[in-house]
Symmetry: C2
Subunit: 238 residues, 2 copies
C-alpha cells in the first residue's frame, strides 16, 4: 500500500497552507503547461488519480466533462473535497492507487497531478490506466522530477548548485518533506517513459517544467528554479 | 556551420587515444544498449550521421546492411575511415550536418553516436532525418546527457556530487574538453524528445545510460557514474 502521509495530521495541516491547496489550480505554477496537454474535455468521462481536494475534478466539469471520478487514498483530503463539491457528476472514492480497480475502456481522459512519484508499482498502475482508457483516450500527468527524488538530501548547496547524487540508483527515498519519513519512489525519467511505451502509450508531449519569463519577473526568487526542473509533465495517447 | 573541433590537431591526437577510438564499438560501454535499439540490418540502407572513424559503418555491413552512407565534418576522421575500410558498399562523404542534404525516403535506418549535442539547429536536422527515412524506418542515436552539458564547469565536486546548474537554460556551452573552447549545444531531454515528436517520430526506447553491474564489477571506478548518466540513448520509428 502507498504510504498515506497526507492523513498525517501535522503533514496535512502544513500541506493545507500551500498556495496550491488554498488557491487551487491557479496556485500551481505548472498548471498552464499541464492544461495545455489536455484534449478538449467537452462530454468526456474523466478519471482524476490522486484527486486530493478535488480542484481538478471540479475544473474538469466546468470545462465540459460529462463525469469525473476522483480517487485518493487520503480520508482527510477526500472529506474536504466532498465538502467543497456540489455536483452529482463528480464521484469521489477512497482507494489505494497501487491496487485500485480502474475499470476497462471507461474513460476518455485520465489525469494525475504529483502522485506517480509515490507509486511503488508504476508498471502495474500504468497497465490499469491503459486498460481504463477508451481507444483514442489521453493520459496527462505531472510528477516530481527525478532530479529532486534522486539525492538522499534534496537541498541546495552553496553556489547555488543542486548537488545531484544517485540519479541512476532507483528505489525508495525516505526524506523530510513537511514531516520526517516521507517516502517517495525514485525512478529516472527514462524509466518512466519506457514504462509508458511498454504499456502501449504513444508519447505526445514531454516537458521538464521551467517557470516562464513572466513568472520569474513576478517572482524573482524563482530564478533559482532554472538550475533544475521541479516537475516533469507528460501527455500521451492510447 | 558546426564547430569542427575534431580537425584540431591537438584534439584529434587526444581523441584518437580514447578506448572507443582504438577498440571501436566494443570500447564504448554504451554500445550494447544502443545496439539493442537497432532493428535487424539485413538488406538495409543505412545512414551513419557523424561516422567518425567508420566503426559503425563497417559493423553495419557485417550485420548485413546492403549499403552504408557515412557522413562527417572532420577531414581527419574521414581520412582514417577511408584507410580502414575496403568495402565499395560503404560511401563516406564530408558534409556539415547543420545543412547536409540527406535525401528523401532512401534509408531504412539512420544512426548517430554522440553527435547531436554539437548541432545548433536540431529541429532542422531531425526534419531532414525524418524525410530521409523510408516509411517504417528507424532512427537510433546516442547523445551526451544534458546533465553533462548544463553546468558551466562540468566536473565532480566533493562528496562526490554532480553540481548541477542551469539545466533549464538552453543554448551553447563553451568548455574545456581535451582542448579549450569546445562548443556544445545544451538542450533539455524534454526538448530533444519534443522535437522528435514534432517531427513525427514515434518514440520507441529512451534510456539514460548506466553501467551494468558487470561493467561496474570490471571497472569499480565507474561506480561514480551512478550519480548522473553520461549518455542518453533513443530509438524511434517513422
Amino acid at each position: 500500500m502507498t504510504q498515506n502521509i497526507y492523513d498525517d495530521p501535522d503533514f496535512f495541516t502544513q500541506y493545507s497552507q500551500f498556495r496550491r491547496s488554498v488557491e487551487g489550480l491557479d496556485g500551481a505554477p505548472e498548471w498552464p503547461s499541464l492544461r495545455a496537454m489536455l484534449p478538449p474535455l467537452a462530454g468526456a468521462a474523466v478519471l482524476d488519480l490522486g484527486c486530493g481536494f478535488g480542484w481538478f475534478s471540479r475544473w474538469a466539469r466546468q470545462a465540459g466533462a460529462a463525469s469525473v471520478d476522483g480517487i485518493d487514498v487520503s480520508e482527510r483530503m477526500l472529506a474536504r473535497a466532498r465538502t467543497d463539491t456540489s455536483d452529482a457528476a463528480i464521484r469521489y472514492r477512497r482507494a489505494d492507487l497501487e491496487s485500485a480497480d480502474l475499470g476497462v475502456a471507461c474513460y476518455d481522459v485520465v489525469y494525475s497531478s504529483l502522485v506517480l512519484h509515490y507509486i511503488v508499482d508504476l508498471d502495474g498502475l500504468l497497465g490499469r490506466v491503459r486498460r481504463a482508457l477508451k481507444p483514442g483516450g489521453s493520459f496527462v500527468f505531472s510528477a516530481e522530477h527525478p532530479l529532486l527524488t534522486a539525492p538522499e538530501v534534496a537541498a541546495w548547496a552553496e553556489g547555488p548548485v543542486w548537488p545531484l547524487t544517485n540519479y541512476l540508483v532507483e528505489g525508495p527515498r525516505r526524506m523530510h518533506w513537511l514531516v520526517d519519513g516521507v517516502v517517495k519512489q525514485h525512478r529516472t525519467l527514462g524509466t518512466t517513459l519506457t514504462l509508458l511505451i511498454r504499456n502501449r502509450f504513444t508519447l505526445a508531449a514531454i516537458e521538464e517544467w521551467r517557470p516562464t519569463d513572466e513568472q520569474i519577473a513576478a517572482h524573482p526568487e524563482w530564478t533559482i528554479e532554472l538550475h533544475r526542473p521541479m516537475f516533469v509533465l507528460v501527455g500521451c495517447r492510447v
